[in-house]
Structure formats: C-alpha cells, structure tokens
C-alpha cells in the first residue's frame, strides 16, 4: 500500500535502529521499527520488490530495497556501504534514530504468478530485493510450482544471506544452486558465472509456466538474460528490478527517469519486454 494521497510525500517518519547484523564485508543488515506504532502498522503492508527512502538527517536520503517479506514480523534493510548516506547508516548504533518513508514503487505482482514456477537468478547483492519474494513465496508455498534459486558472487565470502538460504533449502520448499567466480576458503561448490549453473549436471530449469526473477550487476544481467532467452524464456516472463540515482522516490525529482519510465513510480519492477522498450540503456 502506498501512503495516502493527502500526506506530504517528502516527509519521512522517525525510525529507531534495533540491531545491526554483519552480512558480508561492507554489507550489514539493519533491523528497525518506526517510533510511531501506527506508522509501523501502515508500512508493513508493502509488496515484495517495493523500496523505501531512508533519511540520515544532515547527510541525505537514499532509496533502499526492502529485503523482508511482508509476511515477516521485522522490518530491516540490508545495505552496502558505498556512498555518504549508506556510510552514515553504517555508523549508527542500536537505539539511534533515522527516518524512513515509503513503501514506494510497483513491486513484484506475486498474486499474478500463482500457479507458476519461480526461478530466481541473483548476482552479488542482487539477492537483497529478491529475498522478499523468496520468503513470500515460501510462506505461501502451495500457491507456486517449483521454486529455484540460482545465486552467484565473486567469492564464497561475498554470498549473501547464507544461513537463510541454507534454512530455506532444508525446509524442502526450494532448491538452491550456488556459484562463485573465484573459489576460496575451502569452497567445494560450483565455480563459474551464474548462467553456467543452468547447464550444471542434475539441474533442469522448467521453462514453461515459469517466471524468472533476475537481479544483479549490469554485466551479469546482460549475460543471464541471454542464457534465459536461449533456454526458451519469453521476454515477458523475465522480471527484474532496476535501480537509479533517486532523490524523491515519488516521480517528481526526475533523476531516475530512464527513457519513458520513472523507475520510482513506474518501476522498479519491469519485465524484460518492458526494459527493452524503455528507449534508453538501463
């Protein structure tokens, strides 16, 4: 649910940091809640794939995907320290305050995918926005067919959400295939780009009646799309979530407009068919 129309669309609400968990180098997960319980109640009906604007007063505001599923109790962000705002967030300690507004964007239409197989393909921190969909689908397991996760990172130490992935796979609800570009730390698993997992022995990707979720760095995205199309995926059955420099999150500041689409309001979720028609490179 997006905020009601009468509100001041730029006004964030105060949030309190509850705890911080280290994920991989430079990436941490920040568990938080709104100071005002009614704001928390209103916020938690977001859709997988939506995002929020995070304010660090005195530094600025940045868009962040929502890795939790709306079916989970806690709200959190998983953030890589990369610019001034994310660095400021990384400095925060439990009980420190910041501010959040949202949720924004269209999100993944998970209801429309009922009865279909879900194939998640992620690279690096691209797993963060997809985490929401995976948890959501596992929570509503009977609504979906096969669920597969193909996930790759540069090194084993850069694989996100490893405990979660292990637990989800153990629950028997999904299959998980991991790969790294460079093996290290006693890695015995697959080595190669994410797309190479599709051809791994014992792996079969259902193509008919399947939605492929793709999220990762631009290079990975280009190659995975090629691989998926070669497998026989139709362009409208491949979905992704795009990101851009963003200031407002509500279709006004103009920064995230690619071709004909404002990523913040028309996206961030697009099918590959739509991405091709944006009229500008992503």
């Amino acid at each position: 649910m997006n905020p009601p129309h009468t509100e001041n669309i730029y006004l964030p609400k105060l949030a309190v940091l509850d705890r911080v968990v280290d994920d991989i180098p430079e990436v941490k997960t920040f568990y938080w809640r709104f100071e005002d319980p009614s704001a928390q109640e209103q916020f938690k009906h977001f859709r997988p794939g939506q995002f929020a604007q995070v304010s660090l007063f005195g530094v600025g505001e940045f868009p962040a995907s929502l890795p939790p599923s709306p079916t989970e109790e806690e709200t959190f962000f998983t953030i890589r320290q990369v610019g001034s705002c994310t660095s400021a967030l990384h400095q925060l300690k439990p009980r420190d305050k910041f501010a959040v507004r949202g949720p924004y964007g269209n999100g993944f239409p998970m209801e429309d995918y009922q009865g279909m197989n879900l194939t998640f393909v992620a690279g690096g921190i691209g797993l963060i926005p997809l985490r929401s969909c995976i948890v959501y689908a596992l929570r509503h397991r009977t609504r979906y067919g096969r669920i597969q996760v193909f996930y790759g990172a540069k090194t084993p130490g850069e694989l996100m959400y490893m405990p979660d992935l292990g637990a989800w796979e153990k629950s028997g609800g999904m299959e998980c295939h991991l790969t790294v570009d460079r093996a290290a730390d006693g890695w015995t698993g697959h080595v190669g780009v994410v797309g190479s997992l599709f051809k791994k022995a014992g792996v079969d990707v259902p193509v008919d009646n399947t939605i492929a979720f793709v999220c990762g760095p631009p290079v990975m995205f280009r190659f995975v799309i090629k691989d998926l199309l070669a497998l026989g995926f139709k362009e409208h059955r491949i979905v992704s979530t795009l990101e851009r420099y963003m200031k407002c999150g509500v279709g006004k500041c103009g920064h995230c407009c690619i071709g004909v689409a404002y990523i913040c309001v028309d996206g961030p979720v697009f099918t590959y068919e739509q991405i091709k028609r944006l009229g500008e490179d992503i």
Binding site: N2, H5, T6, E7, N8, I9, Y10, L11, P12, K13, L14, F57, G58, V59, G60, E61, F62, V82, G83, S84, C85, T86, R95, D96, K97, A99, E243, R244, Y245, K247, C248, V250, G251, K252, C253, G254, H255, C257, I258, G259, V260, V265, G279, E280, D281, I282
Partner: protein
C-alpha cells in the same frame, strides 16, 4: 470567456486593486538595460511596472517552485528528534505573465499535482496564485528573436489557464478577458467598461498581424516529435548536439517547464538540520551518477538526448497532455553552444533526410 475594456491609464490600477485585495503582486520591471525581471510591487517601484518589455530570463516558475526551497527542519539529536515541514502559502498575483509562461505553469500543475502523488509544497504556493496574463503584441519590445510560442501553440494569446488576460488594442485601450470566476469577479471594479463587437474585431486583427512578426520558426516541430518518439534520430546527430553542449545547465534553469530538483541536507545550527530542494539539471554529469561512481548516462550527447526526449517524446505528451516545451525561446537565448530548442529542431531537420534507410539503393 467574458471580455471587458480597460483604458491605458487604468491598466496598472489592476495592480493596485490586487494589492488592495491582499495580494503580493509580482510584476515585470526593466533592469539596467534591456534585461527585465519580476519583482514585488511596492509603493516605491509601482510607477515602473512595465506592460511591454522582453520576457524576463528568469522564469516566473520560481514563485511556485523556488530555486531553493526548504522542505523541512529537523531539530534535536538522537534523544528527542522532531521533523517539522516548512510550508509557505503566500497570496500572490503574477501581473504580466506571458502566454508561454502560463502554459509552463499549467505544465507544472499537471506534473506536480498529477499522477499518484501530489506535491504539497507546490500546491500550497500555487493555490492562491492569481495570474494576469499579458498578450505579446509589440514586436519591438514583447517579441524576442528567439520566441516561438506560435510553433508550440501556446501564444501569443493564451487560450486558457489564466485568471485575467490583458491585451493592448492600441488607441489607448486594453481588452481584459476573464479566464476564471476569480478573474471575472474583478470586473466588478469600476475600471472595466463594456467590450463591443468592434473591440473583438480589433483583437482578431491585431493577433493576425502579430502572428506574422515571429522570427524563429521551428516548423519541423511535429516531425521532430515523431522522430524523437520513434528513436529515429541518428546517433551522429545527437553527438553533434552533444559536442556543442557546455554542460552549464542554463537551458534547464531558465525553462518554464523543467521540473527536476535535487534534495540536500544542511546543518543550520548545532542541533538543527534543514532539508532543501534545489533546481537540478539533466545537463550536468552528476545528475544520474550513483553512489559508488557508476553513471548510466555518461556521455554528454546521451544527456542532451535525454532533455529533448523528455520534452518531445509522444509518450510524455500523451501523459502530460502537452509538450514540455512552451516556445518561450529562453533556452535559445541563454545557450552559448546554440543548441536551444529551435536549433535542435533545425539540426534534426537537416540530418533527417540523410538517414541511410531513406536513401535509394542502386540496382
């Protein structure tokens, strides 16, 4: 729309009437030379308000969308933090806004108040803004060499979206047309006399004559819209345009229909931060640069392509009901590389026939 007639000597009394009704009236004045600007009318400068003068460079959009505008103030530190939005709801009248700029404001209205989210800061400034449009009729003073409202279909006489429209009919008479009930309500003032069929005839004749006095012609506008929408413009044309761009952002700052802004926080006291929004420009390289340095729109010509695509693509025209170009000519006047809208349309016209797929092939 109802029309009345005002005597030349009484036209500026409309300013007094509006001030008497509690409006802060903004009107155009001459600067030191031919430059002009909008300023608040006071007792001291009241006599220098101009009817006929070149349209100010700095567009009146700043009265609804200021160059720098505070969005909120945040007081306190971690213990007790308070976020207070900063609103301004002035009661203002813009006297002498040109037809192109009326169209520009209408564009901003649809952009900021339309779609899913309403911009409350814009809304509060816009709500009480009374518009007195002046029709450009004097070729020497009103119409600049870069004006092309005729091609953008916004002037010289705005057809809508003003409260009151004034047009010089010569012979020391002006026609006043009410565009809204608020405008019509002003007709209760004794300044306004009856308009006759002869006045309307004079209005028509003057407009017909004025239309011939525009120098800049961008007659290829519709074709350009089609080419831009179809992505049919050669990369080499955009590169040519990009080479001439100095990346100063001037075109966007003077554009009455440009809407982009950035948001910045600044420390204003030991325990106080304010968040402001500032006009931003797609011409600047940092416009799309993300944290970490990746910039999807790195080349200058990609950024120029962006500006003209956003203004002319059919998709946005359908969504916003008009082009995001109102033909004011400011970008042409301000651009040191001569790639304002009319020049770009002309460059596209020159290059278009050379598209290889249009060339005949030998058999």
């Amino acid at each position: 729309m109802k029309a009345r007639v005002v005597a030349l000597g009484d036209v500026l009394k409309i300013v007094d009437v509006l001030r008497g009704r509690g409006y802060e009236v903004l009107a155009p004045f001459y600067g030191r030379g031919r430059d002009s600007y909008f300023d608040t009318v006071t007792e001291e400068n009241r006599g220098r308000v101009q009817i006929h003068l070149p349209n100010p460079y700095y567009p009146p959009k700043r009265f609804v969308f200021p160059h720098i505008e505070r969005l909120m103030r945040v007081r306190g530190r971690n213990g007790e933090m308070q976020i207070e939005p900063s609103y301004e709801e002035p009661r203002r009248a813009l006297f002498g806004i040109r037809s192109c700029d009326v169209a520009g404001l209408w564009h901003l209205d649809r952009f900021y108040l339309g779609r899913d989210f309403r911009d409350v800061y814009y809304e509060k400034r816009r709500k009480n803004l009374f518009l007195v449009n002046v029709v450009c009729t004097d070729p020497a003073r009103d119409i600049g060499e870069d004006c092309f409202c005729l091609c953008a279909d916004t002037g010289p006489a705005a057809r809508d979206h003003f409260d009151l429209q004034l047009m010089d009919l010569g012979e020391r008479e002006f026609m006043a047309v009410a565009g809204t009930p608020a405008g019509e309500e002003l007709f209760s003032e004794p300044l306004f006399g009856k308009a006759t069929a002869a006045h309307l005839e004079r209005r028509r004749a003057i407009l017909a004559e004025v239309r011939k006095r525009f120098q800049a012609t961008t007659s290829w506008f519709p074709a350009t819209v089609r080419y831009v929408s179809q992505g049919a413009i050669l990369d080499s044309t955009w590169e040519e345009i990009g080479k001439r761009c100095l990346e100063c952002g001037g075109c966007t700052y003077v554009c009455p229909a440009c809407t982009c802004f950035t948001v910045s926080d600044r420390q204003v006291g030991p325990e106080e931060v304010e968040r402001v929004r500032i006009w931003d420009s797609c011409a600047l390289s940092g416009f799309t640069r993300m944290a970490g340095g990746f910039n999807p729109r790195r080349a200058v010509h990609d950024r120029r392509n962006r500006r003209f695509f956003r203004k002319l693509a059919q998709y946005f025209i359908q969504r916003e009901l008009a082009m995001a170009c109102v033909g004011c000519g400011r970008c042409a006047a301000v651009c040191h590389g001569d790639i304002g809208m009319p020049s770009v349309v002309e460059m596209i016209r020159r290059e278009a026939p050379e598209t290889p797929k249009n060339e005949p092939a030998p058999h």
